[in-house]
Symmetry: C2
Subunit: 353 residues, 2 copies
């Protein structure tokens, strides 16, 4: 730091987001993206948008989009918050609800952004280790917390928890805000959205990036009591009133109204997931029972980092985390059947090496 003006600059460790390869012919099953395109109705909404109107600011209250989301989830528009991807929604929630002295609690193996946001917003936090079967231990969260964040299903473990588990957490944490991050919930996991009517300190967050194939449009949401939502709105409006752009709103509204396409796509991903899981187990892999659009797997006698790197040379991109406890696991996003067949074939080749 040679110059004085550098003294007041944020001292921050650069977080490098995952590479988006532009190479052709890649089986890209490394970013938990949906292998199927967005609903044709969402694409139609983008194409038919009155582009002349882009000179206007978006509706800061996103009234129409909120209503569509509320209708889908059986809540009221005042229970819905919308943001620029669920990262934006969860980051704003951290800023909005975790302003106490007590540390907030989340699992040791989980979405890597939670500790990053804590450092960014100077929120104290503590981690509770997952059990040896990689499930979250609800009893860990019984002590007094400044807040609780539970991803359900968890990532990268893919494991989901049921209503009883969630209510156990909620019953012990009535004095802080509990966030259930449901980014992957649509692939067969229990959703806590109904519980927001019972627990007014419960915030459930979600995204259009996974089950609705709109990662490129950046749409996230939160559902909770009108008190939590109005606080989020106030903080959002103090930061950037127009977070969701006009075309994302149009695409998102059309996407959430197309329940049929949504259910069809999800069924396909789940069917492929179950088939790949079974096949990997037959080959000798240990594969966790996924309720997400990815599998978390290991093979005791093989080095998973080597496996990950070898697959890359074969143009199959999966994900490997060099982190304690999971450094011999890989995360495999569910692609199309054709993509997964290539993946399985390459995996067989690897095992024969």
């Amino acid at each position: 730091m040679d110059k004085i003006w550098k003294n007041n600059i944020r001292d921050i460790e650069p977080y490098v987001p995952g590479e988006q390869s532009k190479e052709k012919g890649i089986v890209k099953i490394n970013a938990n993206e949906n292998p199927y395109p967005p609903s044709p109705k969402a694409i139609e909404a983008i194409r038919n948008f009155e582009h002349q109107k882009l000179r206007f600011y978006p509706d800061a209250n996103a009234a129409e989009f909120k209503k569509a989301v509320a209708d889908f989830y059986g809540v009221k528009p005042q229970n819905v918050f919308l943001g620029n991807g669920s990262d934006d929604v969860i980051a704003l929630s951290f800023q909005s609800f975790f302003n106490g002295e007590l540390p907030i609690a989340f699992p040791d193996i989980t979405y890597s952004f939670y500790p990053v946001w804590c450092r960014l917003f100077k929120i104290p936090y503590k981690n509770f280790p997952l059990k040896s079967d990689f499930h979250i231990n609800a009893d860990d969260y019984r002590e007094k917390n400044g807040g609780v964040v539970i991803p359900n299903p968890n990532a990268p473990t893919s494991l989901g928890e049921g209503r009883e588990f969630i209510e156990k957490i909620l019953r012990c944490n009535r004095d802080c805000v509990v966030i259930i991050d449901e980014a992957y919930v649509d692939f067969g996991c229990y959703s806590s959205i109904d519980l927001t009517k019972k627990y007014e300190n419960l915030l459930v967050t979600g995204t259009f990036s996974k089950s609705r194939s709109l990662a490129g449009m950046r749409i996230g949401y939160a559902i909770g009591s009108s008190e939590l939502i109005s606080t989020l709105e106030a903080v959002k409006n103090s930061y950037n009133s127009y977070t969701v752009n006009s075309i994302s709103m149009a695409a998102g509204t059309a996407a959430i109204k197309d329940r049929e396409y949504f259910e069809k796509t999800i069924s396909k991903v789940i069917a492929t997931r179950e088939r790949v899981k079974t096949r990997l187990r037959e080959m000798g892999f240990t594969v966790l029972d996924s309720q997400a659009n990815f599998l978390f797997a290991t093979f005791c006698s093989k080095n998973m980092k080597d496996y990950f790197e070898w697959l890359k040379t074969q143009k199959v991109y999966i994900r490997y985390f060099n982190l304690p406890r999971i450094d011999n696991y890989v995360r495999i996003t569910i692609g199309t059947d054709e993509e997964m067949d290539i993946f399985l074939q390459k995996t067989e080749e690897f095992l024969r090496l």
Copy 2:
């Protein structure tokens, strides 16, 4: 506050964003939006986007878009930061660069978000009153500051400052980051972008919402030394790696490459502005010499709040601020010639009332 979980919730005054009326037949000259649509090339880029690809996350580094912005402004891609509207860019800059004990400085009459961000991020600040002619007094900024924010041209005054003024500020503030907010610069004001090569503590911010008619797409940028930009990138990547969506990037890239349309639109807005300014002065208004896409005006013997409200009954929406020193002024966005003719005709009617 009846429940304990409410104790750690952010205590925040709700900021209510301006209403976007859906009524038809309105002359909407209240939000500083551009009266002309975006470049046809931007619209083409949106229509021709490979919508199937929206299932992928956007390029977190926005390489192609950054290069187009860098080319336009004669800087390098590592000198360009992109965000979800310039509000997002400036808010991130406040978080990134204003972490000292000394208050940051900006004018008393200026963009209303600056004090809101200071409160949100707990940044101490001080205001310096504009001179009686509503120009900024550069000498005010000579004392030691934690940071300086100067909008050029200023809003809602519409007044711009030249290179000498900006360098005077920069020469006195070598020990903090200086932000020049150029949201309206393209309508005839001096741009400090070239000075970023001389002063590595200078950050210039801008938006695609005004001169490029893309308010609905949420695109903002900052230009500065690679050191400032890499800090912004690190903070952004700790918050939400994928801030700019894929379609905004495509539209923005096409828009900034279409220099001809950009220049043509700006000339039209400036010509209309000068005509309306002259006409208002002929009627007896005091109108400041605008370098923006709006006029700031008063009429000594008339109540401007009444004028604003009466115009609303006539379906002409302008902007009135009930704030000290400017509570008998109105801000009039420059619309099309047809819109401004209606506005002028209604104004004549008002003066005859």
